[in-house]
Symmetry: C2
Subunit: 586 residues, 2 copies
């Protein structure tokens, strides 16, 4: 029982020496990435560099205690940083004291929301964010993140949160480019892109073993940071237009609840909810992918609780909002993290770094951080997803395109809302115009299929129709119209059989519609039958009047219905040779 609330008791019991070794190696590798990434994502969020470093301390310890994934590396991530910047930017300008306060409240609010959703087991709500919408959103957010770093890469003033704001600002800023900054940026970018694969290869060619070379290959970020800092320190480039990080407070973060401000909370509640959902969806899908590889199980609601506590931890330690990040989690997994303790060790290493190393980061150029961000988001961009999704489904493609367009042109929150809204509207539209198939018997079987697609046997006295959707209010009338049409088309008609194999639910509006059909058919001396009504639907129909008023019967199967209503045709058809002729749809 206790382990339900303190899940870390599970793995601490069986913790062994080789777990410690594995966790420590993973923690070192992740910490080396996390120091520069934390500062970079803080810059992306419009916050001072320490907000990113603090986000890599208490939140990681809390996740290690309450989370269920041994591989997930929690901390500052790019997309959440961008969303934080957008949301905090609506209440204060970057650099103003209100901006950092807003970011802390975003962490607290999204933490509380995650916690509540998790405790009430509402994690399934995140399923309403469809794959195409998430994928489109991440690509568009990646582009906006890259655009936001142009000013650091070029050393000029380019501002704006959406493409219509960034583009004119970019054009106007072209005249004031700092060529020294641009050169430095280009150098670091080329090195980082090369080092992702090239560094490990080089080390192997220099004689190192593959596992060690692969681990050391992850130190590209560290080399770039140390190298560019030394370069600026040695050459005084900061005196010639190359902007640097400057002072970072030494020591552990202050522990304090941020100033309470009700109107601020009201303004930030909606964006915090979206940040909570995006952060959760990103994190849980990474955790599940990594868990599946080891055949482990991730409890989505427990993840929500752990991520919620991690964000509450961020909010009380002057840190930025956090979630599980893709690139560091993969590194963590590859480096062999055995338990969530790896995350806690990462936090300790980060704390040591902040205590000891911050003075050394004074000369770290902002261009290096921007280049780190650019390299991180390049892996988020998936432009092929749009044509691929569009080819599979117009509706999914449209939802993805709308998400991307609105995110790029109007804003990140609006983009997500547009995507979710359009997905739902298109789904409702689809179900409001259901596919209906007139069915006949497949020769040699007891099976019934669409007369337009299969060579099937029918009889003019019986009209069998299968409606391929639950019957509910938006489509309640469509079936009525179709049956009335059949009634006027087929004078020999004596029976209508509604095959309900695809009907998963009949609501009150559809029930009235079925009763109207029954009455109309009765007036025309045609019997109305149902077949293949599923258990839950039958249970429900038994609570209404339809079964009592029905002029015909309810048959277990469509075959039973036809065997009763047109026995000769049906038996002859079963006895006939099986024909698998597939007719192409008209």
């Amino acid at each position: 029982m206790l382990t339900k609330f303190l899940p870390f008791l599970n793995w601490t019991k069986s913790y062994q020496r080789h777990d410690l070794t594995n966790d420590l190696i993973a923690a070192i590798v992740v910490a080396i990435m996390l120091v520069p990434q934390g500062m970079a994502y803080a810059m992306l969020a419009g916050l001072p560099p320490q907000a990113g470093l603090y986000g890599a301390m208490l939140p990681l310890v809390l996740y290690a205690m309450f989370g269920s994934s041994p591989s997930l590396a929690v901390g500052p991530v790019a997309v959440v940083a961008l969303m934080t910047a957008a949301a905090a930017g609506t209440v204060a300008d970057i650099g103003a004291p209100g901006f950092h306060l807003a970011a802390l409240w975003i962490a607290l609010l999204s933490g509380m929301m995650m916690l509540v959703l998790g405790l009430f087991r509402l994690g399934f709500l995140a399923n309403f964010l469809s794959h195409p919408v998430i994928s489109g959103f991440i690509t568009a957010a990646g582009l906006l993140i890259a655009a936001s770093q142009l000013r650091h890469l070029l050393g000029t003033d380019i501002r704006g949160k959406t493409l219509p704001e960034v583009i004119p600002s970019f054009v106007a800023g072209l005249g004031t480019i700092s060529w020294l900054t641009l050169g430095l940026s280009a150098l670091i970018l080329v090195f980082l892109l090369w080092s992702r694969a090239g560094l490990a290869k080089l080390l192997m060619r220099l004689g190192l073993g593959a596992p060690i070379a692969k681990l050391l290959g992850k130190t590209g970020l560290l080399i770039a940071v140390v190298g560019s800092t030394l370069l600026v320190w040695g050459t005084g480039l900061d005196q010639h237009g190359v902007s640097i990080v400057g002072d970072i407070p030494r020591g552990l973060p202050p522990f304090a609840l941020p100033e309470f401000n009700l109107s601020l909370i009201q303004l930030l509640a909606a964006p915090a909810l979206m940040i909570a959902i995006v952060g959760y969806v990103e994190s849980v899908s990474i955790a599940q992918t990594l868990a599946a590889k080891k055949r482990q199980f991730i409890d989505p609601d427990r993840e929500l609780v752990a991520l919620g506590l991690a964000n509450l931890g961020a909010g009380v330690t002057s840190a930025m909002p956090v979630t599980g990040g893709l690139s560091r989690s993969i590194v963590n997994y590859d480096a062999g993290a055995a338990t969530p303790a790896a995350g806690a060790m990462t936090a300790v290493l980060i704390a040591l770094a902040v205590l000891a190393l911050t003075p050394l980061m004074y000369y770290l150029p902002n261009a290096t951080l921007a280049a780190i961000i650019i390299v991180a988001v390049v892996s988020l961009l998936d432009f092929g997803a749009l044509p691929r999704t569009w080819a599979y489904s117009r509706a999914d493609g449209a939802a993805m395109a709308a998400t991307m367009a609105v995110t790029l042109l109007i804003g990140v929150e609006q983009g997500l809302l547009a995507g979710v809204g359009l997905s739902l509207v298109l789904y409702l539209y689809r179900t409001s115009r259901p596919h209906m198939a007139v069915v006949g018997q497949v020769p040699g079987t007891e099976h019934f299929r669409n007369i337009d697609r299969h060579a099937v046997v029918t009889t003019p006295e019986v009209f069998s129709i299968r409606v391929d959707e639950s019957l509910y209010f938006p489509n309640a009338r469509a079936l009525e119209d179709r049956i009335v049409q059949a009634l006027s088309d087929t004078p020999a008609l004596r029976h209508v059989v509604l095959q309900c194999s695809a009907v998963n639910y009949i609501d009150a509006s559809a029930l009235e519609s079925l009763e109207a059909i029954n009455e109309r058919l009765e007036a025309a001396e045609v019997q109305f039958h149902l077949s293949e009504v599923k258990g839950p639907v039958m249970d429900q129909l038994e609570r209404g009047h339809l079964l009592h008023d029905l002029t015909g019967s309810v048959f277990l199967t469509q075959f039973d219905a036809m065997n009763k209503l047109a026995p000769e045709t049906t038996q002859a058809c079963v006895a006939s040779a099986r024909s698998d002729t597939h007719i192409q749809p008209a």
Copy 2:
């Protein structure tokens, strides 16, 4: 072709003498009801009495030319009057010049919206208003309408648009009741309620033939109006606190476009859309019910066009918004209206009445109009619908209860929105947690059913699951979780068959989920098969990768699948005696 745009050319061609007689009789009966009802509903809408009378002229002629129902009686109706009062009340006080202007713009805007929806054949959108929501809304609106007439019935000042406003106002007004007005109201109410059935019976007992007695039985309104007017005129009750209608301008309405005001239009656009939809839904369902009795066909989109033009006609002739009304349409139908010409004749009779009779209406008491409204709305109230709907479906009952509660407590527009919103949310919630049934073969048949409900045959090597919902983003993960669970529960498992008979659509998110299932099963050396995939779903799957990657096969039927994967069990089961044992659900 021409008749498509001018549909009245259809019936004018074959118009005959006996059609004329029938139409004229119906027109006279309807006009006798419409003069007092028009004035009463104008009062309900907060408009001068002539706005109701004008609403019974040009709009009726336009509907007669463009509408498709011979029986529908268009004109002012109670629910639309209430909604007009609520919407216009948000921009001006009753009696202020801006109030009437707002009502005219509501007519114009809702007319334009109906016209556009009809021309683009978007009438199906009205299906999103479910039966329970409409039914709950009409009952709640009926209560609010009755409450709004209390001040005329009691001769005291009771105001408010919602129950929380009306109730304290009613309590405060109790001290200033005009007892003369109350007595008069009670007299008229009792007479009107009695006359609905009693007048025709009395006339028959006096020796009149049944058809004539039934027609004259509809003149209860006329008798009440004439009688109460004469009473007030003769006794001077208007000098003793009984309020009267007073001056009504004589002559035809002015023909003019109301003053243009963009901010007014922006404020009224949303309520006008709701009035358009409610008016259309009410009207088309009356028209369809009456048409079904005569086996005639109503084109919903043409109805939208005709009602749109009727409302545009109302907007340019100082009239209130109109739609088809239930009580007058039934009277029109019963009186034998043969063609839409009956409506046009009604309009001519109303015009004659306005030209000749308005001075005679000076002493008509407002209490009579209020009593007419009360009697009309009593037939709208259906309190039994809520328990009936709740018993059939909790979701429908909840949507109905929410519609009623929000309408009564907050407002009519909010009530409708709450109802539609909740219906959709509950539907989405239901589809996000689909019913899944593990299926087995019904002995003696080729049919497969839920193992929990039927005595069926299964084999441990094959796990057959039927998911009773389209697979789309909110439920994409549920199937994955269920199959992973089966995988760990059943070590003997070699095949998983997904029976897709109830799957009407597979979106991109669900496709990814199916691919993930396929990969996971492949890793566990279990084959993944599909059966009974419907044509449209198969077409769609062919555009993705799943069919290519699938470790198993796609079978036409679940029986084919089992016959291939476990032939001995399956054949033995077919040969065994048929068992119809129904197992009660757990």
